[in-house]
């Protein structure tokens, strides 16, 4: 199903000949149309297959949800002697205990210099800006893309 000969007779332009205005115009329109047509078919295919896979996913998610909820109930691991299990009020939806432990460790390390002890009372998410990513994700991406 070669679509080029359908539109034009095969090898219509002789390689050694100079081009006239009609040939140039026809070649440009046909060329761009074929490229768009071919890639448009791929777009349609990907959207169709993508919607099939997306439709297949929700069931999977539901099955995974209880699993994800379980570790959230665990107390935050002690990262430093001063660290208490985070009260996390308001409680974040996802499991942030590791993040809280890391924050506590960082604060404890800072406090060690002046001999003070700190404890986390609450952790609240800040506005994520327009990208929809968390600060951790932003920092990670910044780190990965900096060389570029």
């Amino acid at each position: 199903m070669n679509i080029i000969p359908i539109i034009l007779a095969d090898k219509v332009l002789k390689g050694t000949e100079k081009l006239d205005g009609t040939q140039i115009t026809a070649m440009t329109i046909i060329g761009l149309s074929v490229v768009f047509f071919a890639l448009l078919i791929l777009v349609i295919f990907l959207y169709t297959s993508g919607s099939f896979f997306k439709a297949a996913k929700p069931g999977q998610k539901q099955a995974e949800k209880p699993k994800a909820a379980a570790p959230a109930a665990k107390p935050a691991p002690k990262a430093a002697p001063a660290a208490k299990p985070a009260p996390a009020a308001p409680a974040p939806a996802e499991d942030d205990s590791e993040v809280i432990a890391v924050i506590m460790a960082a604060i404890s390390a800072m406090g060690a210099a002046d001999g003070k002890q700190y404890r986390i009372k609450s952790v609240r998410p800040v506005a994520r800006g327009g990208s929809g990513r968390s600060a951790w994700a932003q920092a990670g991406i910044a780190d990965l893309t900096r060389p570029f």
Binding site: I4, K11, G15, Q23, G31, V35, F36
Partner: protein, 403 residues
């Protein structure tokens, strides 16, 4: 005694007349000298400036070797078509080392094998997650076809115009693949000219693209933060190369060698069961082919083919092709920005010209200049890899129509 002196002088005279130095300073030798100096410039750019060194260095060294008079490494006259065919028997019998290596270019073996390695290294997830990217990859091929118009109007033949236009695809192997098929040899333009222009401009993408990107977009458009891409499942990644191969090969069979090998490489990668093959394809095989391809394409840059007005035209049209491709991608990106109500950053459109991953990096860089917290890299990779497929399809169209 006189006989000995005569023998001595005759031998020395013979040696001198057979030497490259005699040819270099003889009639027309200055052209070779200039080409040797040009090869030094390209070596400098590759080594000191890091301009596409993996290809520019072998190409420039091939250029040096072929322009050393009397070395006989490459013979352009062997590649001139006789009754529509190359006399391969003659090439094997009379050819030098670079003639033999050039067989892989002329028989279109190297570019598809390079695509195999590229396929092993390419992650199509951004494209699968955001299929609209394909349209940006298609739009950027406008550079190819609009350059075809300009080249046609300037009086180039159909084969020359097609070979020059494909530079706009910003894909070295594709440019070599098309020009080798279209250019019959003996003309003023060779595959070497096209490859030289293509790789030079690909190296200059960071200089060519940003001014066009800034000129064609507003600050507000450049600041658009795009939604995070969805996660793509392994099954989708496996189906993708198979589907693309079938669809593209059925629509444009001439693109099958390039797209087929690109997708074969990608299937090897995504299957997860062919680690050894991937390792060979993306390392040893790719490196060997790159050396053969670069040095033999460089060998086609004989002085006569470079020091002429037509090569100046190729270089000029090459930069026009790149610029038009960038502009077409951006303008289509602006259309998508409007249609989606500002959800698409037009900057990712410029990545549709291929030049993987450089063009995507430029989108990221220009976007980050407007807003340092904007990360467009993964979004730009979609059009970028779509551009590879798009330029292969465009190449297929050119090969189907130009005989």
């Amino acid at each position: 005694m006189q006989g000995v002196i005569d023998f001595f002088t005759n031998t020395l005279g013979g040696l001198w007349s057979d030497s490259g130095l005699h040819a270099l300073f003889g009639e027309g030798g200055w052209k070779n000298l200039i080409m040797i100096l040009v090869s030094f410039v390209f070596m400098y750019l590759a080594i000191a400036k890091g301009f596409e060194p993996l290809l520019l260095l072998p190409i420039s060294f091939g250029m040096l070797l072929t322009n050393l008079p009397m070395a006989g490494l490459y013979h352009p006259d062997l590649w001139v078509l006789v009754d529509g065919h190359v006399n391969y028997g003659e090439v094997l019998k009379e050819g030098g080392l670079l003639d033999i290596l050039y067989l892989g270019v002329k028989l279109q073996i190297y570019p598809p094998l390079i695509f195999l390695g590229i396929g092993c290294m390419t992650d199509f997830s951004p494209l699968i997650a955001n299929p609209k990217s394909f349209l940006l990859g298609a739009a950027a091929q406008g550079g190819i076809f609009f350059t075809f118009v300009v080249a046609g109007l300037l009086g180039f033949t159909a084969a020359e115009a097609g070979s020059i236009a494909i530079i706009g695809g910003a894909d070295g192997p594709t440019a070599i693949y098309v020009s080798t098929r279209l250019l019959t040899g003996g003309g003023a333009i060779t595959t070497g000219n096209i490859a030289l222009a293509a790789y030079t401009y690909m190296a200059l993408v960071p200089i060519i693209q940003p001014p066009i990107m800034k000129a064609l977009t507003t600050k507000k458009e450049r600041a658009v933060k795009m939604e995070q891409l969805r996660t793509v499942s392994k099954t989708e990644k496996i189906i993708f190369p198979i589907a693309v191969t079938i669809i593209v090969s059925l629509l444009v069979p001439s693109a099958a060698p390039l797209v087929g090998m690109l997708m074969f490489g990608n299937l090897l990668k995504e299957s997860g069961v062919a680690a050894r093959l991937i390792d060979t394809a993306q390392n040893a095989l790719m490196n060997i082919i790159t050396i053969f391809l670069g040095v033999s394409v460089g060998a086609t840059t004989k002085a006569d083919q470079i020091i002429n007005l037509k090569f100046g035209g190729v270089m000029l049209l090459g930069v026009i092709a790149f610029s038009l491709g960038t502009a077409c991608g951006l303008l289509f990106g602006k259309i998508m920005y409007k249609v989606t109500g500002g959800k698409v950053n037009p900057l990712i459109g410029s990545a549709g010209v291929s030049a993987v991953p450089m063009a995507a990096r430029i989108s990221q860089k220009v976007g980050a200049e407007t807003d340092p917290t904007n990360f467009l890299l993964m979004h730009a990779m979609g059009p970028n890899v779509a551009g590879v497929i798009g330029s292969a399809v465009a190449a297929g169209v050119l090969l189907s129509v130009i005989g």
